[in-house]
């Protein structure tokens, strides 16, 4: 995207940032005036510049999470002016540029808020609850031997496309942060659907959805009230239709598990 403003037109904003020294410390907003802001700067670059200034003054820099800075890793996680990942549409915080703001703006920066994402420091939260959900079933078990021919299992194009849509989830947690109930349904639905739509994902399909939903509940996320705040902020624009799909999949799996025939071969006389 090319800015309409030339990079020569510097402007000034105030960053109002949540500062909290540690998980149990009390936090508060602190204002940081930033001048010489270029519209071509990314939002995270502005945080870098502010942090350089703090370091020079021997103050503690603002802790914020980031890694790839190109929207693919899901590490960056700020709530900017009340919206996870800021004012853009379909972008992560690291893809936000200062041209989205104007001279004199006060930009309020907060961490993602959810009980299941405990705060580590300043803007950094611990999102390992997502890892626990993934470990509960977000995988397929395969025998690793010689690499099989990639085309040996045909995948219908429609399914492949849909699975790919779900697979674009970068696990950032913005869906949880935006949800009025801090529910993780969009993330879990994306992960459940991504594998559940593929032929390779079928053998563990029921087990997966049951286990991942259970892990989600155990992590202390809220319950979905179908308000779709999640998909509105998702940097990958994952649709909440996957949530409806997961609801269906879950009920089916529940009833199938309950009423499946009892095998006489496996258990022996009990």
């Amino acid at each position: 995207m090319v800015s309409e403003r030339s990079s020569k037109e510097f402007f000034a904003v105030t960053l109002r940032v949540w500062r909290q020294a540690g998980p149990s410390a009390s936090g508060r907003f602190v204002d940081y005036p930033a001048t010489n802001v270029s519209p071509d700067m990314s939002f995270l670059e502005l945080l870098d510049v502010v942090n350089d200034g703090l370091t020079v003054k021997d103050e503690e820099p603002i802790a914020f999470a980031h890694d790839c800075r190109e929207g693919i890793c899901g590490t960056c996680s700020c709530t900017i002016n009340g919206k996870p990942h800021g004012p853009g549409h379909g972008i992560a915080t690291c893809q936000l540029y200062m041209r989205s703001f104007k001279d004199g703006d006060t930009i309020i920066v907060e961490p993602f808020r959810a009980r299941a994402f405990p705060l580590v420091k300043d803007l950094v939260t611990d999102r390992s609850a997502f890892d626990r959900i993934q470990q509960a079933g977000g995988f397929i078990s395969v025998r690793t031997g010689a690499a099989p021919d990639a085309n040996s299992i045909p995948v219908p194009k429609d399914d492949a496309d849909l699975a790919m849509d779900a697979a674009t989830c970068i696990g950032c947690g913005a869906c949880v942060a935006a949800c009025k109930n801090a529910s993780a349904m969009l993330f879990v639905a994306a992960k459940v659907s991504h594998l559940g739509l593929m032929p390779q994902g079928q053998p563990e399909r029921d087990k997966r959805v049951l286990a991942m939903v259970q892990a989600m509940d155990e992590a202390g996320f809220g319950n979905c009230t179908n308000q779709y705040e999640c998909s509105a902020v998702c940097p990958k624009l994952i649709t909440h239709d996957f949530i409806a799909r997961m609801n269906r999949d879950y009920v089916k799996a529940l009833f199938k598990a309950k009423f499946k025939p009892v095998s006489s071969a496996s258990g022996g006389a009990g």
């Binding site: 709530t79 919206k83 907060e110 989600m216 996320f221 319950n223 179908n226 409806a244």
Partner: protein, 236 residues
Amino acid sequence: MNLLGALFQSSIGKKLLMAVTGLVLVGFVTGHLVGNLQIFLPPAKINTYGHMLESLGAGLWAIRLFLLACVAIHLWLAFKLTAENRAARPQGYGVEHTNRATLASRVMLRSGIVVLVFLVYHLGHFTLRVQHPEWSEHTFRLADNTMVRDVYRMTVQGFNSAGISCFYLLGVGLLAYHLNHGLVSMCQTLGLKNERWTTGLERASAAFCWLYFLGNAVIPLSVRGWLPVLSGLIQR
């Protein structure tokens, strides 16, 4: 996890119960409205209908208990889910921002509570008859000379009070508002919705809610003589 445990404990299970009990109650209020609209027919109609329902005996109690169980589950889950949802975000945001959650979806508990208060009052009024015990004395002679309760007169008398009429309009109005989120939300929870269906479902739901509200609202308005043709159909 066993089936019942999963239904009552998992988040998706609880929402499913919420949706299914909600669906039962929507069915009930719709049937109830159709029955009520007999107020525009000669009094014998609705009084015969009321008598028929009351003489269902054990069947009536089975239906009542089933509906009561649905209300109880719906209500219990509403409070439980809300409490869990609040606990899921102990510390809120400095800036509260809403992207697209509708107002109706954000006040479900509050609209539901008003509807509940209305329901309790209404049951006291017509089913238990505690507010105006003297009204149960009103009887009506059917064509075959059986004496039955005069529900027609009870209704007309009830709506003669401006207070009751206003409370009634508020109750059915908020119920319609509650259903406007509830109906589409139910489809999502049951997994019966996707982008292609959304607009259609939302429109159908809005149309249903408006019809439901207007269908209910015309009754007190006619009794109070405010509607041109319909008011003429009420016998005072």
